[in-house]
Symmetry: C2
Subunit: 134 residues, 2 copies
DNA sequence: AGGTAATTAGAGTAAAATTGTCTTAAATTT
DNA sequence: AAATTTAAGACAATTTTACTCTAATTACCT
C-alpha cells in the first residue's frame, strides 16, 4: 500500500477544513468524519508542522488552511503525514541484508529508481485543488 | 510502501533464473542471492502457481521461466507474489470504519481510483525484459 | 523399485509498522 | 482566572510483513 490510513484521514480533513470560514477543532473534525480523535490530532499536528495548516490554540481555536488549495501538493501532504515521502520500495533500510550489498550492482535498482521518480512527479504535479471536486 | 521485500526477492530471483539453462533449486537461489530459504521457497511457489515459473520436482529439479521475459509483466509478478495487485490504498478493507460509508460520497475516491489506474497501467506496460538490463 | 533430491502445503513465530489511546503541559480567548 | 483547545510524548493494540519449521508429496536417477 503506497499510502496509509493517516493520509486518507488527512485528505478528508483538509477537504472539510477548506470549506469552513472558521477554525475547525480536532474534536469537531473527529465527530464529523468519524475518525478517532487522538489519532486525528496527531495527523493535524503534522500538517501544521509542515506549514499546510495553521493551528490556533485556545477557545475558538482549531485548524485553518495555510495556503490556497492549488498550492498544496499531494507530495507534501503525504510526506507531512507519514513522516516521509510515499515510497515504492525503500531498500535503503535493509542495507545489512541486501543481496547485492547496495544499489551499485543491484539488477532492479534502475527500475525502482525510475518507478519512484514517476510516483514523485505525479504527486508533485497534483494539488489539493486537482483532487478535490467542486 | 507500494511493494514488499517479497517482490524484491522475486525480481532478483527471476533475473537469476532467466540466465540459466537448467532449473535452479530454491536452496541454490537462496545461497546465491542470500535470501532466507524457506521464505524464498514460498515466493517461488507463488510464481509457479501463477504460471510465471515452471517448477520441477525431484532430483535435478528447480525452477525455470515459463514464458519469455518480454511476456511477463510487473503487474503479474507483484500480484502473484503478494497475493493481490499493488495498491495505492485499499479502502475496501475498512468498510466498517469508513468515514463516508463507501466510495459513493467519498471526496477522495476519484483521486484514488485515478491514481490506482496509473499505477496499474504502468505495471502492465512493463515487462521483465524492460526492467532487467542486458 | 528404492533412495534421494527436490517442491508443496500449512501452521506457526517474530519483528516491524500502523493505528489508536492516554495523560500532562502549554497557549489562547473570554 | 477559567475554559477551551492544541502540543508532546509515552504507551498499547492491531495488522502486516518477514520469516521458520515440519511433514508430505512428487519425480528423477541409478
Amino acid at each position: 500500500m503506497l499510502i496509509t490510513r493517516a493520509t486518507e484521514y488527512a485528505l478528508l480533513s483538509l477537504d472539510y477544513i477548506r470549506k469552513s470560514e472558521y477554525p475547525i477543532g480536532a474534536e469537531q473534525l473527529s465527530d464529523a468524519l468519524n475518525i478517532p480523535k487522538s489519532f486525528l490530532a496527531k495527523i493535524l499536528q503534522n500538517l501544521a508542522k509542515k506549514e499546510i495548516l495553521i493551528s490556533k490554540k485556545g477557545a475558538k481555536g482549531g485548524f485553518v488552511l495555510q495556503k490556497e488549495i492549488k498550492d498544496v501538493t499531494l507530495f507534501d501532504i503525504v510526506a507531512a503525514v507519514e513522516g516521509r515521502p510515499a515510497m515504492v520500495f525503500d531498500c535503503t533500510q535493509y542495507t545489512d541484508t541486501c543481496p547485492n550489498n547496495g544499489p551499485k550492482n543491484c539488477t532492479i535498482s534502475p527500475f525502482l529508481v525510475n518507478f519512484q521518480k514517476k510516483i514523485d512527479a505525479l504527486l508533485h504535479s497534483l494539488s489539493l485543488e486537482d483532487i478535490l471536486s467542486e
